[in-house]
Amino acid sequence: MSAEPDDIFRDICALLQPLNKEGIELTRETRISADLNVDSMAIMDFIMEVEDRYDIDIPLNDLSDIYSIDQLVHYVHGLVSRKKA
């Protein structure tokens, strides 16, 4: 599986689409909770999809520091890179 930031961005956008009820354009700056207007449970369920996609665990403790898609992309990229190393 390719796991460069651009690939991760595309994957995350695809996984977010079911939550994107208003069909807004997803960019790296999109704030996942605020702009998509989704609740905390939906966010946690979405994160599980990301975890499964990359075979990683994202502790709930770290979610409070992740607001935007870009922050999530870099977080996931960091985990995946460390896993490969």
Binding site: D39, S40, M41, M44, D57, L60
Partner: protein, 401 residues
């Protein structure tokens, strides 16, 4: 900046419900008539959403025990357990629960919510990792957060998903896995044997929150682990007094030899007033009643099966195939759920309105909880009201689709 601005979404949601002509917040029971009846909006209403599983809130012996404690020991303890708030009654309750639960040590807390805060924060620390079921109760999430531990969420009731995450985990420190005996929204229970199998392959401590299963499940009424015959595999249990015991408070229990030290390490125990004498006395008597009257569990099982079958037979979608005293009816969307809930209340039955994010999988629910004190007639009335209000509306929607 207005600090309450962040809650504007809640206000808008409430306004939407009011626009539907429904007041969902703060149903007031004007008079409690029995474990299964109250006056609401001036109308005698069947209570089918109060988690009063054993129906012993009006048990004469519990009331008398509370009355005596109130008269003899006063209205409150005015202190925490580690200061002036430990009475002989608290010790007596812990000893009685220790016998009932067949656990060496029991610590009582002032509420069930605090039991989860206190136990989870007492057991795990920042160096540890807690693996919690995705559908865990809010008090479990809050207790886990308070602990400072790393929190890994696994898919609901999936021992395989837990095992995958345990295998990936390379952190140091202790590992705690948290399950519930009966999940409060759908009424389902975990496959405990599968989780115990995982425990045999991976090193972790297992905690089961038996809030909705104490008194309800198992030959001795000790909960899921009792029912599954796996009590020795469960290291810690948490429970509440506000459901089967018909009072208020909570407990943690374990055979761990150092368990008692949690009393001196957990703030939800140390920095809150201990339960009042009357509350402890009614709980103590409730333990004895539950122990002496296993037939209450039989009544609860019969009533639960009757409601489960009845609601399924009128074509409603239930969230759990397995019979438990929590029976949740899935409704297609939030406005429909709110309108049906209100119609049920006006027709004479109170159930819980359960909406996201307080529910799993973004579901909208009419949640029932059954009591041993319900009569067969009560159950049949509840079914007939669901048939009239919910099944009828669902049929109309299907016909117009």
């Amino acid at each position: 900046m207005d600090l309450l601005e962040k809650h504007k979404g809640l206000a808008e949601r409430h306004a939407l419900m009011q626009a539907l002509g429904v007041e969902t917040i703060g149903v007031t029971m004007e008079k409690i008539l029995s474990p299964t009846r109250a006056l609401i909006n001036g109308r005698e209403t069947i209570l089918a959403g109060t988690n009063n599983y054993m129906g012993i809130t009006f048990d004469p012996s519990c009331i008398e025990a509370g009355r005596r404690a109130l008269a003899e020991q006063g209205t409150g303890t005015t202190g925490s357990r580690i200061a002036n708030g430990t009475y002989a009654l608290h010790r007596e309750l812990e000893n009685e629960l220790s016998r009932f639960l067949n656990r060496d040590h029991v610590i009582t807390f002032s509420t069930g919510y605090q039991a989860n805060l206190g136990m989870l924060a007492g057991l795990a620390g920042p160096q540890d990792t807690i693996f919690l079921d995705a559908d865990s109760h809010a008090s479990i999430y809050d207790g886990c957060t308070l602990s400072g531990a790393r929190l890994i969420r696994f898919r609901h009731n999936s021992a395989a998903d837990l095992e995958k995450r345990l295998a990936r985990h390379d952190g140091e420190g202790g590992r705690l896995v948290v399950l519930e005996g009966i999940y409060s929204m759908f009424g389902d229970r975990p496959p405990l044997d599968e989780f115990v199998d995982v425990k045999r392959r991976h090193d972790f401590a297992l905690l089961v929150d038996e809030a909705h299963s104490t008194g309800v499940l198992g030959e001795h009424g000790r909960g899921l682990a009792d029912e599954a015959g796996l009590e020795d595999e469960v290291d810690f249990i948490i429970g509440t007094f506000s459901k089967s015991f018909g009072a208020i408070g909570g407990f943690g229990a374990s055979n761990h030899p150092d368990f008692e030290f949690i009393r001196y390490a957990t703030r939800a125990y140390m920095f809150t007033a201990s339960p009042s004498p009357a509350s402890i006395a009614t709980t103590l008597q409730a333990v004895r009643v539950l122990d002496a009257r296993p037939e209450l569990r039989d009544s609860l099982r019969r009533n639960s099966a009757r409601l489960h079958t009845g609601l399924r037979d009128i074509g409603l979608e239930l969230c759990c195939d397995e019979v438990s005293p929590v029976i949740a009816v899935r409704v297609r969307d939030e406005p429909s759920t709110v309108i049906m809930w209100d119609a049920l209340l006006k027709a004479g039955v109170y159930v819980n309105l359960a909406l996201p994010p307080g529910t799993p999988n973004n579901t909208c629910l009419l949640r029932c909880s059954v009591s041993a004190a319900h009569s067969e007639q009560d159950i049949d009335t509840i079914i007939s009201l669901f048939a009239k209000v919910v099944a009828g509306a669902a049929g109309d929607a299907a016909a117009s689709a």
